[in-house]
């Protein structure tokens, strides 16, 4: 291997050009063949039973996410101007090509089921906007008397009314959103304010905002990394070549993705993040070594220097890259395809970065020459007590070893704290909570939630498994009714619920002279069947298709939630699930549907996969390390920085209340990637130094001055770069920046303190000599 690498040094130009050409080819492929996948349904494993059922249920009942357009008039909505705005907006939404006419619901389109002494009427609340005072009063009374409308389409304080426009999953685009906003804004007057909210808006905006923000921030991140790297290496050539390694490996990874026709998913934007954090490490270690070598041998030729570089470092570079790649490959165990791809292509990127570090970087040195030796610094350090040239390294090493209990107790304490913090970690599949608290989208959502049942929905599908007419049975509908009331009453977060039972309740009341005591499910199945027939004859039978299947063998119960976060959904699920047994006795199974539920399941799947792969890769890495260093002990010691990093990362998330989401969960991969880099470089150096001395302290100090220095450079560079993201306008990107920086920092501290100490105390590499 070493020979091959050395041989390649003679063909530097060829190597360089070959790499550039391939990079260019990948770049072209990337340009012409890359596509973003923004349809969230495509992210989900299509054959997972929960998704399969949900998709079917969405088809049966036409369950779609709704855009909510709210019209507010502080003076009340029952006046000609507001109602006219409502009618016009409803009509305009109905005319949009993205929206099916029948999928728009508002007070203008809704049916009013009214009862009287002699019969029942189903009619529209209004067609022509009422102008006379009496007519407006009558409308107001009709709305107040109809529980199916009051509090659902008109707020109970009568200052807000909503239009709900359901759209298909793949309809949302930036243009469509702008169109809706401009239609809404055009209707704003002094008294009338229009708001736009709903899951499609939130989901769509997020899918667009996240990558857009990244596009803006990444160049700044790269610039900062460039500057800091330049300060650290004090060499423009070195900086450019090191960044070139990262840059090229990213292009190769994305180029390969494009070449095999895999689209870019939201998690794919994490690939460059990983490659930047991990890829610069090799470059920094190589250049640090090179600097030290030149300082020691000022007269060495560039070839001699490069040969020494490869001799000393090819092994740790290969070891770190292979172990890191294995860590990412373990993500293939995930059920979620975007995560599998993320793991696979990051691993590919890591391996190409390795090749570039060992081929491209030396070729660069051969072509562009060595960095200049720094003379002034080390002279002043000549009298320093200790074994390396660096006072700081010597003192730090001595201190770590002297005050070993600080590290040990500190680490133990941190681990304990982290475990406590980890208990608080919660999973969140919320989309809304990814936005700023004071952003318009969150504020609008809050406003609508204050006035109505909720902007998020959860669909419970009751399934009698093909047995017809089960959902005409009074006992079944009574149970549904009871469950709905139970959930409504017990949970603040559930604003209201809606099912076939509400229709039956309403008709039973209306056909019994509007007496409140009849606002319930009647006792006879025939009665229910006859009510339904009556509704079909006088109302819009399409409405029933949204709550029950044609054969009355499946029922859709919709719960309106005021929050889309996982805690809210899970609290509703807990109460609903307590009815599982009761429904089972009736031969009915419970299933869920809808996008809120799907993303909950999806997040769980991601996490499950992530934890699984974390464990697998952790074990694999211990085994690989043990094999590479031919010592089980080293395998365990080397895994300490990873362990510490992972623990602290999750612990801090718990304490700060940062929920695990699809992106934050992936960050644990960084812990592995970086932790392993630091550990391997440090151990390898320590091992080499130990071979040359009997003095453990000396070996440790020299390693600190060399590897420790590279590690701290690496940490500083990446931390500086990712701290830029803390100023992002998009909260998930901020969390990402902070957590990457944190992981870098803890890996760095962990390696140089507790791992160093364990290495020192284990007496490994010194045993024979002591005898």
């Amino acid at each position: 291997m070493e020979k091959l690498l050395n041989k390649l040094l003679n063909y530097s130009w060829i190597t360089m050009i070959a790499i550039l050409v391939i990079t260019a080819l990948f770049f072209i492929k990337m340009k012409e063949n890359t596509r973003m996948e923004t349809d969230l349904d495509k992210y989900m494993p299509q054959n997972n039973p929960a998704f399969v059922y949900s998709d079917k249920a969405e088809e049966w009942f036409g369950i779609n996410d709704g855009i909510i357009v709210a019209i507010e008039n502080k003076n009340g909505i029952f006046n000609t101007a507001t109602l006219d705005t409502l009618k016009q907006l409803t009509k305009r939404l109905q005319k949009m090509e993205e929206i099916d006419k029948d999928d728009v619901t508002s007070l203008y389109t809704a049916d009013n089921i009214v009862g009287s002494e002699y019969g029942m009427d189903v009619k529209r609340f209004f067609k022509r906007v009422p102008k006379l005072k009496e007519k407006l009063q009558e409308l107001k009374k009709n709305v107040e008397n109809n529980e199916m409308i009051f509090g659902r389409l008109v707020s109970t304080d009568e200052t807000v009314t909503v239009i709900v426009a359901e759209i298909k999953d793949d309809v949302f685009t930036q243009e469509f959103y702008k169109k809706i906003l401009s239609v809404a804004k055009a209707s704003n007057t002094d008294n009338i304010k229009i708001y736009v909210a709903g899951r499609p808006i939130v989901e769509g905006t997020m899918a667009l905002l996240g990558p857009a923000d990244m596009k803006k921030m990444v160049p700044i991140v790269l610039l900062v990394i460039f500057l800091v790297l330049f300060v650290m290496l004090r060499s423009l050539k070195g900086t450019l070549i090191t960044l070139g390694v990262v840059f090229f490996s990213t292009i190769w990874a994305f180029g390969l993705m494009a070449a095999v026709n895999i689209p870019i998913y939201a998690v794919s934007t994490m690939i460059p993040v990983m490659l930047i954090a991990i890829g610069v490490a090799d470059g920094i270690h190589l250049y640090t070594h090179l600097h030290l070598y030149i300082n020691k041998h000022p007269n060495a030729t560039k070839k001699e220097a490069t040969i020494d570089l490869l001799k000393n470092l090819w092994k740790p570079v290969v070891m770190t890259s292979v172990t890191t790649a294995v860590g990412f490959i373990s993500l293939l165990t995930s059920q979620v395809y975007p995560i599998k791809y993320f793991g696979l292509f990051t691993a590919f990127g890591v391996m190409t970065a390795m090749v570039f570090s060992l081929v491209f970087l030396p070729a660069g040195i051969m072509i562009f020459g060595l960095p200049k030796p720094k003379k002034n610094k080390e002279k002043g350090n000549k009298d320093v007590a200790g074994h390396s040239y660096s006072k700081l390294a010597n003192n730090f090493t001595t201190a770590v070893i002297k005050y070993k209990y600080v590290s040990i107790i500190g680490t133990a304490a941190i681990i304990v704290l982290s475990i406590i913090g980890m208990q608080k970690v919660w999973i969140n599949s919320s989309f809304l909570e990814k936005f700023e608290k004071d952003s318009e989208i969150v504020q609008t959502d809050k406003f609508i939630n204050e006035h109505f049942g909720g902007t998020s929905s959860l669909n419970l599908i009751l399934d009698a498994d093909g047995k017809k007419d089960v959902f005409k049975e009074p006992s079944v509908l009574k149970l549904v009714d009871k469950m709905q009331k139970d959930v409504d009453n017990q949970l603040q977060v559930v604003g209201n619920s809606f099912s076939l039972a509400d229709y039956i309740d309403r008709m039973n009341k209306v056909l019994n002279a509007d007496k409140e005591e009849f606002n319930k499910i009647p006792d006879s199945k025939n009665m229910i069947a006859q009510y339904l027939l009556l509704y079909e004859m006088s109302g819009d039978p399409e409405n029933l298709n949204k709550v029950v299947t044609y054969d009355y063998d499946k029922l859709n119960v919709t719960f309106q939630l005021k929050s889309d976060n996982s805690k809210a959904i899970n609290s509703a699920l807990a109460i609903i699930d307590s009815y599982n047994e009761d429904f089972k006795k009736q031969g009915i199974t419970m299933n869920y549907a809808g996008s809120g539920y799907k993303s909950l399941v999806f997040t769980d799947l991601i996490l499950e996969g992530q934890i699984m792969s974390l464990i697998i890769s952790f074990i694999t890495i211990i085994i690989l390390l043990s094999m590479m260093f031919k010592s089980m002990k080293i395998g365990l010691i080397g895994s300490v920085p990873i362990l510490v990093t992972a623990f602290i990362s999750f612990g801090i998330m718990g304490f700060l209340g940062i929920p695990l989401s699809s992106t934050t969960a992936l960050l644990s991969s960084i812990a592995i990637g970086i932790g392993i880099d630091y550990a391997v470089h440090f151990i390898e150096q320590y091992k080499n130094n130990a071979a040359e001395t009997d003095d453990k302290l000396k070996a440790a100090q020299i390693t600190m001055a060399h590897s420790g220095r590279a590690i701290s450079f690496n940490a500083i560079v990446v931390i500086a770069g990712f701290m830029v993201l803390v100023f992002s306008v998009f909260p998930p990107n901020r969390e990402l920046g902070a957590l990457v920086s944190l992981n870098m920092f803890t890996s760095f501290v962990g390696t140089l303190s507790i791992m160093l100490l364990l290495l020192y105390m284990s007496n490994i590499y010194f045993k024979k000599k002591e005898k």
């Binding site: 019969g119 056909l511 025939n526 009665m527 004859m537 044609y550």
Partner: protein, 262 residues
């Protein structure tokens, strides 16, 4: 405003005009053709068994069997229907009186045996669908000849029958159909096919006449299908045991009879 002249559960335009010879050789205008189709002799009363099958887009069916009586009283058409199946709505009955006078709303009653009460129901729109079917009340009733502008588009053969193809464009812009296109047989002025276009002038529904029988000297359509192509939902109506002018008693159309049942 509301006028429901239901002369048959089937579309009114399909009633036979009897044996009047086709006005051959002399070309008819669109309006004249439609007029002849609208004003075919219908008989004074009809008794029949109706099987109405609703089929939704996933192929699920709801089948209803109904015994119905109807009688033309001149200024008012009265109809009464009794559900035979499904069992849970058996003996539910429905009665409607529709008036020739445009300004007079239809009267409709329903008797729910489980409730043991007759209830008046009212819907304020002629575009309401009849019992969850794809037929609106309007499709089933007569439409006033002057509500539309009729134009003879062409003449063509359909299923071996020579037909006029007439386009009828609604004069009222708010009407649920912007236009309809009807294929009317030249020999007897019975409709064969009709296309309904929605407010946006897109095809909404297609009515196909499957079977026409001559009963007691009248052309009666005994099997028709209405398909909503936008919703992929369809309704088939089949008549059996059709009796025309059998002397249905005028006293049949009362709330008392609704409650008593067949």
């Amino acid at each position: 405003m509301k006028r429901l002249q239901i002369k048959s559960v089937l579309v009114a335009i399909i009633f036979a005009i009897g044996l009047s010879p086709a006005v051959s050789g002399q070309s008819l205008t669109g309006k004249q053709i439609v007029d002849k189709a609208y004003n075919r002799a219908t008989g004074d009363d009809q008794t029949s068994n109706l099987t109405m099958t609703l089929i939704n887009k996933s192929g699920s069916q709801r089948v209803r069997k109904i015994k119905q009586f109807q009688k033309d009283f001149g200024k008012v058409d009265k109809r009464i229907m009794f559900f035979l199946t499904p069992a849970d709505v058996k003996n539910t009955s429905f009665m409607s009186w529709s008036y020739d006078d445009d300004s007079k709303n239809d009267d409709q009653w329903i008797y729910l045996p489980a409730l043991k009460k007759t209830k008046r129901i009212s819907s304020d729109s002629k575009s309401d669908y009849f019992m969850g079917s794809d037929f609106t009340y309007d499709d089933l009733g007569d439409r006033n000849l002057d509500d539309d502008t009729h134009k003879l588009l062409r003449e063509e053969n359909i299923n071996g029958e020579a037909c006029y193809v007439v386009e009828s464009v609604s004069k009222d812009e708010d009407y649920m159909y912007s236009k309809t296109i009807t294929w009317i047989r030249k020999d007897n002025f019975v409709g064969v096919k009709k296309e309904f276009y929605d407010e946006d002038e897109e095809l909404l529904k297609i009515l196909t006449i499957k079977k026409v029988e001559k009963i007691s000297g009248f052309w009666i359509i005994t099997h028709s299908e209405m398909k909503n192509v936008q919703k992929n939902h369809q309704t088939s109506m089949i008549l059996s045991n059709v009796q025309i002018n059998s002397g249905v008693s005028a006293s049949k159309f009362t709330e008392r009879i609704m409650m008593r049942g067949l």
